[in-house]
């Protein structure tokens, strides 16, 4: 099973999420269609850390980026990687 990786970028008021290109290519092969969105940005009223992002938000972001619903995603395994450190900070 191919590991799906989503990179997390940092903004002043939040974070930007984007599928790793290899994961994107694999999902296209698997589903035969483009993912729903190339990137997803989220913002907070106050500066926040990745640890404050809830599991529900991670799931919604993954669904928007892949176009695959939550139950199927959980079976695949999604790794969220902080692009600055290349460390996995969350998994589904």
């Amino acid at each position: 099973m191919h590991q799906i990786t989503i990179h997390i970028g940092h903004k002043a008021d939040g974070f930007v999420f984007r599928l790793d290109p290899r994961s994107e290519a694999w999902i296209k092969t698997l589903t035969g269609r483009l993912q729903s969105l190339p990137s997803v940005s989220i913002g907070f009223d106050e500066r926040s850390s990745i640890e404050n992002i809830s599991n529900e938000i991670f799931e919604q972001v993954a669904e928007m980026l892949t176009g695959i619903d939550g139950e199927k995603l959980a079976a695949m395994g999604i790794h969220f990687v902080d692009a600055r450190t290349e460390r996995t900070v969350h998994t589904i």
Binding site: H7, I8, G9, H10, K11, V16, F17, R18, D20, P21, R22, E24, A25, P38, S39, S41, V81, A83, R84, T85, E86
Partner: protein
């Protein structure tokens, strides 16, 4: 103080010249890119302290902002064109962005400029990960650009479509007098 060998002493001025030359080269690349944007009618700014995003481009009035990172690589002549090498830190390349960051590779070649290569960060990452552009070496990804009769390439990736690809910044009407 430790005594230096004649060879080490002789090499010092040359090293300083080399370091200074690279600063001049980088600044030439920045100004070359800024000039292109100004001719197209876009305002430009450079951070007082260089932290990676080299040039900010702004469409006055609309307030649209682009972040630009300029990479300047001297062309080494080959039989049918040239070769140029540059590197980008991997953690910078994989970072998703909003607003998008664009890389512009400026290519000085024996006193003139070759067409610049203009592409989004996400596009370059895609070329690297799925089309064999660039090779990883530690924390960096090294890109070797080849120009020959077949076009412009990096690894197995065709960069020809990105040569002077300024379509993201169409010439603004109010800059027509330029």
């Amino acid at each position: 103080m430790a005594k230096q060998s004649p060879k080490a002493v002789a090499e010092q001025p040359q090293k300083r010249r080399g370091s200074r030359a690279s600063l001049y080269l980088a600044k030439a690349g920045h100004l070359h890119v800024m000039s292109e944007f100004l001719l197209r009618g876009y305002n430009v700014a450079m951070p007082e302290v260089d932290i990676g995003d080299d040039v900010y481009v702004v469409q006055d009035g609309a307030g649209t902002l682009w972040e630009i990172q300029v990479k300047t690589a001297t062309c080494a002549p080959t039989k049918s064109g040239y070769r140029a090498q540059l590197r980008i830190r991997r953690t910078q390349l994989i970072e998703p962005d909003d607003p998008p960051l664009y890389y512009i590779f400026t290519l000085p070649d024996r006193g003139t400029w070759q067409p610049s290569i203009v592409l989004r960060r996400s596009t370059l990452l895609k070329l690297h990960e799925t089309a064999h552009a660039g090779t990883r070496a530690g924390a960096y990804i090294h890109f070797t650009i080849w120009k020959n009769a077949q076009g412009l390439h990096c690894g197995k990736s065709d960069l020809t479509p990105f040569a002077n690809s300024w379509s993201e910044w169409p010439v603004l009407e109010e800059s027509g007098s330029l």
